[in-house]
């Protein structure tokens, strides 16, 4: 399978610290379909690694079991395309561990790019981010589960992306849809 390897973009899906319904900082539970859908999107768009970030050991065990099933268990035989997508999935305790892993693997410190359904500070246009990626800038895209990334993560951003706007002011996309749309805006091939 032909891959374009000039880009170096990774994705981290954060389960802690994220916001709850009342904007309090919480840890969220793993959603099985987040693993599948985002791994498939990541594989489509040539993402380097897709990190599932959770500090909870029971949740880490669940993720490991799912990865094993699709990487070396029955799932890998039943659905080789899914195995291929799951080859991108990594488990990490924290954002620090993600960055350390990228440094180890690529000898690069990635730019941290945050996403949110709300307006953020120091946001740049998608087209500008696309150019930076095309120029070879190592980029780590952060996505929050539950009600989004906690402020302490947003503050770490080298830059942020604008909220996705459709045709309405409704801003409640699933994180699975948001990852797909943002990958397409930054990395997609239009015709």
């Amino acid at each position: 399978m032909k891959e374009i390897t000039s880009q170096s973009v990774d994705i981290a899906l954060i389960h802690h610290p994220v916001l709850g319904r009342n904007k309090e900082v919480i840890g969220s539970a793993i959603t099985n379909l987040d693993l599948h859908d985002i791994a498939r999107t990541a594989k489509t768009y040539g993402i380097g690694a897709y990190y599932i970030v959770t500090p909870y050991t029971d949740q880490q065990e669940l993720v490991s079991e799912i990865i094993d099933h699709w990487q070396s268990g029955h799932g890998s035989i039943y659905n080789p395309a899914r195995k291929e997508a799951f080859s991108l999935v990594r488990l990490a305790d924290s954002l620090e561990e993600v960055i350390a892993d990228i440094r180890r693997n690529r000898n690069e410190v990635p730019k941290i790019v945050t996403t949110s359904a709300l307006r953020q500070n120091s946001s740049i246009a998608f087209a500008e981010s696309r150019k930076r990626i095309e120029s070879g800038e190592s980029t780590l895209l952060l996505f929050g589960t539950a009600h989004g990334l906690a402020p302490e993560l947003l503050e770490l951003a080298d830059y942020s992306l604008p909220a996705i706007t459709g045709k309405t002011s409704y801003n409640h996309l699933s994180v699975r849809a948001a990852v797909a749309i943002i990958c397409d805006r930054l990395l997609g091939q239009f015709k």
Copy 2:
């Protein structure tokens, strides 16, 4: 909530007739998260109605229960934003019933636009489809579950959209991701 109503685009998610693993024509089961994710995407992009198409009465009952939960049951109080998304969800036996419903509601016969992870006949560029929609052309986007729309549905297309290409030849996006990307390409507001 401000809505742009000049467009008239609907979505149908087909559960029969679709293709199975070996390209045989099958009927697929309802996936709960297809209802949620695609309803949220549809609401974001100002889609008129999101039709769940299945001929199976047990599956129709399941869909009705899920819609009721989020439209008038506990879910509608717990999550008003989800209620708003579910207000777009309709149940239909068949594509014919979808088209009849659109004719009844809008007095329009929509152009049928098919999607596929594979190359199709009479495919037009996303930019061209976007122009047709912006000109006010009534458009029904068909998405297939399982391994995609059956040939008998592809043949009904007024036109088809190109397969989504990322950076690789991997073409196994989830239908939830494909709907999000296609809505964004046809209806999204970029900055």
